[in-house]
């Protein structure tokens, strides 16, 4: 037994090597009894294989799992509707443990071993960047559901995304504050160490002023600070009717409480960094009546959103989908639509079809892919009411 063990391990490791010689699209192995489908599995040529890379394990496991559920739902519906030109869609998922080197490895494996037509993923921008290099080099189109960093799609013309990029939220909030809330005088409190926060601030300032509002003052803090009274007192002098705080929920909760203590009556506004149950815990009543922008809200009256939610709930015992699931569902559906339109199943043709995506009715809003391969789509504004975020409005670009 003991002398056998190294040999066994070596044999196991050889399996990785064997994979290389597999034909491009090996017929699916016979299913195990529990999984046996009523019909025989379709021959290999009738299947279009897509790839997915996600963090199914590791610190961000929930991201990868939500994303996978969204993609699965989209593909099931697409297959029920006849697949793509009579071919069934299948997705092969690889776990990257939330690490970029594993994400690149998974992408290389999907491209070279499994010969997938298209890759869906990742959530974290770092991992998407790692995969984008590989996908771009191999001319395999890649659609990221929820990487918001601008650099991702700048990697090349085969890289797309179905979410808006960070600065758009600054514009969406400026428009909502000016046109819906009719605010005149808004102050900004930004986290000067975060590119996300300063990016949102820049766009908000510019656009809010363009729309006829006045930015009363800009103050800065650093993530992790606990005392914001000095900045808030300075802002209070300008008598703002709103304060824009594009930061993360941990800081925002404290800021809201201290603003309340100082008697600041202004409406608080923010971005998707606010999205967390913790915000209500930390901010308590101080965050009531605040607004923040986000990708998606389950309360949105949009029929496409509601159709997605009821399908998802039916499949997952009434679980309400989060925004990652909604964006993944959109990414998969955009990919399916492009595959249907594409002249052939070659990378360049699929790429061209993806680039033409226009007015696509997604679960997270109607989206159009622009020439930079980013999605132009509405943002959702949520209002905090009694420790819950409820849908307030949808802001179109």
């Amino acid at each position: 037994m003991r002398s056998l063990l190294p040999a066994l391990l070596a044999a196991a490791s050889l399996l990785a090597g064997c994979e290389k010689k597999q034909p491009a699209q090996a017929p699916a192995a016979p299913a195990t009894p529990e999984l046996k489908a009523p019909a025989a599995p379709p021959p290999a040529s009738d299947v279009i294989l897509l790839g997915e890379v996600g963090s199914l394990t590791g610190a961000e496991a929930t991201f990868g799992q939500s994303t996978h559920e969204g993609i699965q739902l989209a593909l099931e519906q697409a297959n029920a509707a006849g697949g793509v030109n009579g071919k069934k869609l299948e997705v092969r998922v690889y776990d990257d443990q939330g690490k970029p080197e594993e994400a690149a490895n998974a992408a290389v494996r999907l491209i070279n071993q499994d010969k997938v037509k298209l890759i869906l993923g990742e959530v974290a921008s770092t991992n998407s960047l790692a995969m984008a290099d590989k996908a771009q080099a191999a001319k395999v189109p890649m659609v990221s559901p929820s990487s918001t960093n601008e650099a991702v799609t700048q990697k090349g013309d085969y890289i797309f995304r179905v979410c808006f990029i960070d600065p758009f939220q600054g514009y969406a909030m400026a428009k909502f504050a000016r046109e819906t809330l009719k605010l005149q005088n808004v102050a900004v409190l930004q986290d000067n160490k975060s590119a996300y926060s300063t990016g949102l601030t820049g766009v908000f300032q510019l656009r809010f002023a363009e729309m006829g509002g006045k930015v009363a003052g800009v103050e800065s803090y650093s993530k992790g600070d606990t005392d914001f009274r000095a900045q808030l007192t300075a802002l209070k002098k300008a008598k703002p009717d709103g304060i824009y705080i594009p930061g993360y929920y941990t800081d925002v909760g404290l800021i809201a409480r201290q603003a309340q203590e100082l008697g600041l009556k202004a409406v608080l506004l923010g971005g998707d960094g606010w999205e967390s149950e913790k915000l209500f815990e930390l901010g308590g009543s101080a965050v009531d009546g605040s607004y923040y922008t986000n990708h998606y809200s389950p309360d949105s009256p949009n029929p496409a959103t509601q159709a997605f939610i009821s399908a998802y709930k039916a499949k997952h015992n009434g679980k309400v989908p989060d925004s990652l699931a909604a964006l993944a569902y959109d990414a998969a559906n955009v990919a399916v639509a492009a595959l249907r339109k594409s002249k052939s199943l070659e990378g360049p043709d699929i790429r061209d079809a993806l680039a033409q995506t226009k007015d696509f009715d997604g679960a997270a809003g109607k989206l159009t892919l622009d020439e930079k391969r980013n999605a132009t789509k509405p943002a959702v504004v949520l209002k905090v009411e009694n420790g819950k975020a409820v849908f307030a409005a949808s802001v179109s670009p």
């Binding site: 037994m1 003991r2 063990l5 190294p6 391990l9 070596a10 196991a12 490791s13 050889l14 399996l15 990785a16 090597g17 064997c18 994979e19 290389k20 699916a28 192995a29 016979p30 299913a31 195990t32 999984l35 599995p41 199914l56 394990t57 799992q65 996978h68 699965q72 299948e90 997705v91 092969r92 998922v93 690889y94 776990d95 443990q97 939330g98 690490k99 970029p100 080197e101 690149a104 490895n105 290389v108 494996r109 491209i111 070279n112 071993q113 921008s125 770092t126 960047l129 790692a130 995969m131 984008a132 290099d133 590989k134 191999a138 960093n149 650099a151 590119a195």
Partner: protein, 335 residues
Amino acid sequence: MVPPGLRGVLPVVLACLALAAGQRLFGGQEFFVYVASLVGVNVVLAVSLNVVNGMTGQFSIGHAGFMAVGAYAAGRLSLPLGDVAVSGLPVAASDQLLFAVSLLAGGVAAAACGFVVGLPSLRLKGDYLAIVTLGFGEIVRVIIQNTPALGGALGLSGIPQRGSLFAVWLCAFLAVLVARRIAESSHGRSLTAIREDEVAAEAMGVNTTAYKVRAFVVSAFFAGVAGGLFAHFVPIINPGSFTFVKSMEVVVMVVAGGLGSTTGSILAAVVLTLLPEALRSGFNRFAGEGAGAVVDQVRMPVYGLLLVVLMLARPQGLFGTRELWDRRKGQGARP
């Protein structure tokens, strides 16, 4: 018969030829190259950590920190060199030359850190060194995370992808060569003496701190080189790749291979890097399509389980303290 003067150089020449052949045969298969490169980097890491943890009997758990220093030093140096070519050389040759310079810089930077960390902490014994190295690894990671010039939390991308099968495995070969030569030199005997009984070694006139620091610096140097290699074939380097978990992975390789055995470290690095990929292949084949996500989630627990089985079956590691190149049977169990 090889002339004595050539004996030192011959293995390197042979290895170069073999690697060049390998590069020609497999260079085009991207997935194979990527996985083989990951394996090579892990071999360098495990073999170099074995010099400290195995041969010297110290317990360092900050290897990922040195790897990060090497990766970022080499990567940051290569980044502006992407469009530069040494005049008078063909582009490919100048690329490889600059790559070698970056690797060396990465190694030296890591070795310098190793010296700075090692000098005070190696006067301590056992657990204290573990804690200091752990702290060092975390400090490096946090500094990188908060330095915009190094890409911060998003990571550093755009490093010219100059790594190749040849480069990675040549470094692995050199690391093994150095480790082997150390083990068989009087230097290595002193390290073994320190491992077996530090007080006795000191009484016999071994300058324990100096030997430990030297072993530590050599180990850090190769960890830095490994990091540099890593930065040149992974499209983006990110502080998240150099966490405590990575350090532990390398420690596991060294322990699973057998503390003190270079052969063991190599084998364990190869097996433990390929195992997750092999499980992926195996699961894909036997579980069929559709089982997809579940299967890939099961992979890591199974990997852990296999490690537990391995350590139960062979607590001394795959090779114990023996080496493949020990000539006579029984000579392996060194005193």
